[in-house]
């Protein structure tokens, strides 16, 4: 009976593992095969490395190297927005945790509410606002909204209000350090673990965001990779046999599309794998009520 229960447990877990992992395996293997072989061969077989090079050449040639541009745009948007997030959120979390000033509760509550609200709910309102200010189609219309990341402020706030002993900061003040110096020389060096966490969440959120850049950018040269993928999708016949010869002109078939998707997730996958352990510990330490 016990053994049967254990067996059943493993069968259930393994079935879900197949569901979660097989699509990823398929995505990794697909660029190694030609489109014809994808249809006739076994879905999880390996083709050849040569085929990957071929698929990359086709992808890279699409619309005069626009794929590289999209990846570069994504890096630019996500990294510059995340840099602003770090510069604004860490001091803000510190100020909210240890300061006492009028409006502190209001700022804290607003931060919490906007943090929990789905980000997509604000996309059209932000579009309407920036449209009023005639800022649509500008790269800053993506970077600046990305740079507003209340979750980062919340993480820094939790960290400073629970993990940093106030005695330490008081000691610095007694030694004659001003407010700014205390932050700069005592609080900021202590923030290292939180910097990694905020970087992770902000970078991943920006990299994966589709709706905001889709709504705010008009020129495909400005697209980040997520929106670029949708552009690529609509210019191939992969899911539309009716489009017929369309694919021949642009040479984008399923292997190219799979390769484009695979490369698009590599930066996030790297950040994911690197921070897996720290993340699981950190998220819970921060999220669970102390």
């Amino acid at each position: 009976m016990r053994i049967a229960a254990r067996g059943l447990r493993l069968v259930i877990l393994a079935a879900f593992a197949v569901f979660f992992v097989v699509p990823i395996l398929w995505l990794i293997l697909t660029p190694t095969k030609s489109d014809a072989r994808l249809v006739t061969g076994s879905p999880l077989s390996f083709g050849s490395f040569h085929q990957i090079v071929l698929a990359w050449d086709h992808l890279d040639a699409f619309s005069s190297h626009i794929y590289r541009l999209w990846i570069g745009n994504s890096l630019l948007y996500a990294l510059s927005a995340t840099a602003i997030v770090l510069a604004t959120a860490i001091p803000a979390g510190y100020g909210l945790a240890l300061g006492n000033f009028p409006g502190r509760r209001l700022v804290l509550t607003l931060t919490l509410v906007v943090m929990i609200m789905p980000a997509a709910a604000l996309v059209l309102p932000i579009f309407l606002e920036l449209n009023l200010l005639h800022l649509i189609g500008n790269v800053f219309s993506v970077i600046l909204p990305f740079a507003f990341f209340p979750f980062g402020v919340y993480l820094a706030y939790i960290y400073y209000s629970t993990a940093v002993p106030t005695d330490l900061l008081d000691a610095a003040r007694v030694d004659g350090a001003g407010e700014w110096q205390t932050f700069r020389h005592v609080a900021l060096p202590l923030a290292k673990p939180i910097v990694a966490l905020v970087f992770f969440f902000s970078f991943v959120a920006d990299w994966n965001n589709f709706f905001l850049p889709y709504a705010l950018l008009a020129n495909s040269n400005q697209y980040p990779i997520q929106v670029g993928l949708s552009d690529l999708l609509s210019s191939t016949p992969s899911f539309n046999p009716a489009q017929g010869g369309g694919g021949q002109q642009v040479n984008i078939f399923r292997p190219e599309l799979a390769l484009a998707t695979l490369i698009a997730v590599i930066p996030v996958a790297i950040v994911f794998l690197l921070s897996q352990r720290a993340l699981v510990r950190g998220v819970l330490a921060g999220a669970v009520k102390q």
């Binding site: 697909t30 991943v204 589709f210």
Partner: protein, 281 residues
Amino acid sequence: MPFILLYLPFLIGFGVAPMIYALDLAFTNENGGGWNGFGNFAHTFEDYRFLPAFEHILLYTGIWLVALIVFVTGLALLLHGRANRVSSGFRFLFYLPGALAGAASVLVWLFMLDPAVSPFSFLMHHVFGIQLFVQSIAPGHLPFVFAMIAFWTGAGGWIVVMYGALNTIPRELEEAALIDGAGPVMVALRLKLPLIRRWIAYMVILSFATGTQLFVEPQLVNEASLGLVPDTWSSNQFAYQLAFRYGDFNTAAAVSVDLLVIGLLAAVLIVTRTGLFRRGD
């Protein structure tokens, strides 16, 4: 306090101001005209695309929530039952698809749903009787398809969160129950489950709010299906089309205010009801 001065412009500019401006647009006439009461809301409500879009997202969100509650909680309890290296390996595998969010996850699943190339084609042929891609994305299937994509990318993260919450349950409590003769299933359902209730509530409310905002999945399926699936399938798409195709910002704002209210309500519920964000001060 000077430390929040750099953050404040962002909070106001991209948090508070867009909401206020959307409210302002939603309750006024176009061209900066006067107060229009609920006119724009009534106008969108009468639009033939409004109700179907809300039906779609509610159905999709409902399916997704049931899947999250049953499978995330079930898998977390299963994994926590025997905590060992196998368990942490499975958690990692379940968490992995989280790296593929946004358009990437949708593209992957468009492939998975195409019987011509899918590794699941055997299942599709023999269990669901699907031979062609267009059958996979038939209108009746779409809420299930989108729920599956959302589950695939997000469930692993929630399993990790639930597992962490289960870890905060004192070991002695579990041991005492086992000594009293309770089996592992009994311990999971009677002891562990009630203790992680607020985390489940948090997951459900947050996912409900997120689910209603659905945009990228139907948008890409619309492009992949060459318009077979309407570009106003979800409410956010409908609002987007009102703004972009018709330039009707006031009615677009009305629909986004509907969605904003859902998101705000969910946030307020989580903060005031689950107790997860309540702090001493």
